[in-house]
């Protein structure tokens, strides 16, 4: 059905049948994780309904404090990720340009240091320097998550076939055109993988924001520990884990959708 009479045998023999546009997202992928999360949250809610809550626990969980903490946590994650992206991706691009390529190892060392330092220690240092508050918490999270995005951006851009880039220049693309139309689109899968890692990291690190006075779900966890109230601790932990899994799932969908068409076709 796909053989073409008008082209010569050379073509028909090797012609790949034009595959129908592949469905990139299977329904299993689309439904499994949300279903699991709903089940976990439902179970938690049921358990909570029958659990005995004393005054301290009630105090910690009432007045919409849970939704407030959750919302705060999402905010922290989104804002920090946004800054990570606008810092790490341009930096990665810059460090792969001929003029700055020599600076790449230095920058990578710094990024590595950012991640190697224990997050809580980093946060403590920042609080000493900047005082408590949202700012210190955010900066801590950002420093911690720059590395995966930066290293993946650099790796993605470096992995591009040099002959392809030469072809792009050879047909008359400007350096900016080569970057925007060829280099970045081809590096998108790796960059997105870095972003996904950073997002999940940020959900985790944001729980530490509470030590810098930044709020978030970490508040519930620390309250649960210090007051020795199991339900509070469990709720904080389950919400954090669920959020991390949800964010990871959303990022994996984004990865599939944003990956340029044609990169996986036929292979």
């Amino acid at each position: 059905m796909t053989t073409t009479p008008e082209v010569e045998e050379e073509e028909t023999e090797a012609a790949v049948p034009p595959t129908p546009p592949k469905r990139r997202i299977t329904w299993q992928k689309l439904t499994f994780l949300p279903a699991a999360l709903v089940a976990v949250l439902l179970a938690t809610w049921l358990w909570f309904n029958q659990a005995h809550l004393d005054a301290i626990s009630k105090n910690a969980l009432s007045n919409g404090q849970v939704s407030k903490a959750l919302w705060r946590h999402v905010q922290l994650t989104v804002i920090s990720t946004f800054f990570v992206l606008i810092i790490a991706i341009p930096l990665g691009i810059l460090l792969t340009r001929a003029a700055f390529r020599k600076a790449a190892p230095v920058a990578m060392t710094f990024a590595n240091m950012g991640q190697a330092t224990p997050a809580i220690g980093l946060l403590a240092l920042l609080v000493i320097w900047l005082g408590t508050g949202e700012k210190a918490a955010l900066i801590g999270i950002i420093i911690y998550a720059v590395l995966p995005v930066l290293s993946n951006t650099i790796a993605g851009l470096k992995a591009n076939d040099p002959t392809l880039l030469e072809a792009a220049r050879g047909i008359g693309m400007s350096p900016l055109g080569v970057l925007a139309k060829v280099e970045l689109p081809l590096a998108v899968p790796l960059i997105l993988a870095g972003v996904r890692t950073a997002l999940v990291l940020n959900v985790g690190t944001a729980t530490l924001a509470t030590f810098g006075g930044g709020g978030g779900l970490g508040v519930l966890i620390t309250t649960g520990i210090t007051t020795q109230r199991m339900p509070v601790l469990v709720l904080g932990s389950i919400l954090t884990v669920s959020l991390a899994l949800l964010v990871d799932w959303l990022a994996s969908l984004a990865e599939l959708l944003l990956r340029p068409r044609g990169l996986e076709a036929g292979s």
Binding site: A14, T163, E166, A167, R169, M173, L186, A265
Partner: protein, 424 residues
């Protein structure tokens, strides 16, 4: 070459396509920092408009570097480049490259763009309208022998190697550049596909008359494609720059003859077509002729054999005198079937092959629809080849002589120049 040069042909033909522009390289040099010897040393070359020039040489001889200096993918460290008389050594390289088509090994297509998007790249950059680009994409796919409706929406990875290479050529030609640079474009495809692509390129060039610079390390490819061949040795020194005929029959030195390899005379046969040699007439009869006529004709002809043509004038059987004796009233069983014919476009090599396999040492030549036009036999072939080789040799010697004179003049001029500077 016996044919008029490409530029003359294109000039006489009203066409919409831009035909080639001349390329002049003057003392073109590339010296990489930190290495004592230049990678390319002082290349001087004039490529005529509409000519297909092949750079051939061992790997690492700088042929690719020389090519990339023409569109300044590699910036020369010395010398001038002129395209169509215009000095392009110092203009914006991006602008230059948009006027020079570029096709490379394994096509260089961008995998995240469809075939149509790949081809549309250069026209888009130089600001063509959308509808014009759409038409152009279809036109280009058609030109390289791919069905536009079927292929334009596909991604490169959904194509075979040969198809990708065709699209690569289509992309290089999309903005109708006068000059096309091809860097071992057919290096990564299988031999059969490569043969197809080479034939296609020859056909394209007949239609378009671009100036093409083609780099390869395959000497047979060079002979097949090139109007002229530049055999390059280390540092892109031109060992010989001449027509394929001249290089085959009169290699300039040991390096060139080593590169030409064995069987130069046989390779020479690939360059001449059957139509260029003398096709002799042969007595023929048709199947409709009465038997008696055939007898008479065979007797009158003085040859031992006669060619029987079928109803549409195509060679059918060779009839010998003995066959006729045994035929006894019917030709149905008499004679030997014609097993092999050649067209007037076949190469002499094909003809020789056919003659060698035929037990009587001759082959029938047919026209476009397979109709008989004449016969080529061993003797004709031998004589023609001898004449060809002799003519080539004479021509090459003349060219050699001219080249030496030109060189002497140049050295003279250079010495004068040096003297002049010293005086100043």
């Amino acid at each position: 070459m016996p044919e008029p040069s490409a530029s003359e042909r294109s000039a006489s033909e009203p066409g919409t396509a831009t035909s080639g522009a001349s390329i002049e390289l003057e003392n073109l040099t590339k010296r990489y920092p930190g290495s004592a010897d230049p990678a390319v040393e002082s290349v001087n070359m004039e490529i005529k408009a509409g000519e297909l020039v092949v750079f051939v040489g061992p790997s690492g001889c700088g042929k690719s570097t020389t090519l990339k200096m023409i569109n300044r993918l590699i910036e020369p460290t010395g010398g001038r480049i002129r395209i169509g008389g215009e000095d392009v050594t110092d203009i914006d390289p991006v602008k230059l490259r948009r006027k020079v088509g570029y096709a490379i090994q394994s096509s260089g297509l961008f995998p995240h763009m469809t075939v149509a998007q790949n081809i549309a790249l250069v026209p888009k950059m130089i600001g063509w309208s959308k509808s014009r680009i759409r038409n152009r994409v279809e036109e280009m796919l058609d030109l390289v022998g791919l069905d536009a409706g079927e292929f334009q929406g596909r991604y490169p990875r959904q194509l075979s190697g040969g198809q990708q290479q065709r699209v690569g050529v289509a992309r290089a030609l999309a903005a109708d550049p006068p000059v096309l640079l091809m860097d071992e474009p057919f290096g990564a495809v299988d031999p059969i596909t490569r043969d197809h692509l080479q034939d296609e390129l020859i056909r394209l060039q007949h239609e378009l008359h671009k100036t093409i610079v083609f780099v390869t390390h395959d000497f047979d490819e060079a002979i097949k494609l090139g109007d002229r061949i530049a055999v390059l040795r280390e540092r892109s020194h031109i060992a010989q720059f001449d027509t394929p005929e001249a290089i085959l029959t009169n290699p300039a030195d040991d390096f060139v003859s080593g590169f030409v390899g064995a069987g130069a005379a046989l390779k020479r046969l690939n360059l001449t077509r059957v139509r260029d040699v003398e096709i002799t007439d042969y007595p023929t009869v048709t199947v409709d002729d009465p038997l008696q006529n055939i007898f008479d004709k065979l007797r009158d002809s003085g040859t031992n054999e006669i060619l029987l043509l079928d109803k549409r004038g195509r060679p059918y059987k060779w009839l010998r005198r003995g066959d006729m004796m045994r035929a006894k009233g019917s030709l149905a069983r008499a004679g030997t079937l014609v097993s092999d014919t050649v067209t007037r476009d076949a190469t002499l090599r094909d003809a020789l092959e056919a003659v060698l396999t035929d037990n009587a040492g001759r082959v029938a030549v047919t026209g476009r629809r397979g109709e008989y036009t004449g016969v080529v036999d061993m003797e004709t072939l031998m004589n023609s080849v001898h004449e060809l080789l002799e003519a080539d040799r004479l021509e090459a010697m003349e060219a050699q002589h001219e080249l030496e004179e030109a060189r002497a003049l140049q050295t003279h001029a250079e010495q004068e120049g040096v003297g002049g500077e010293e005086k100043a």
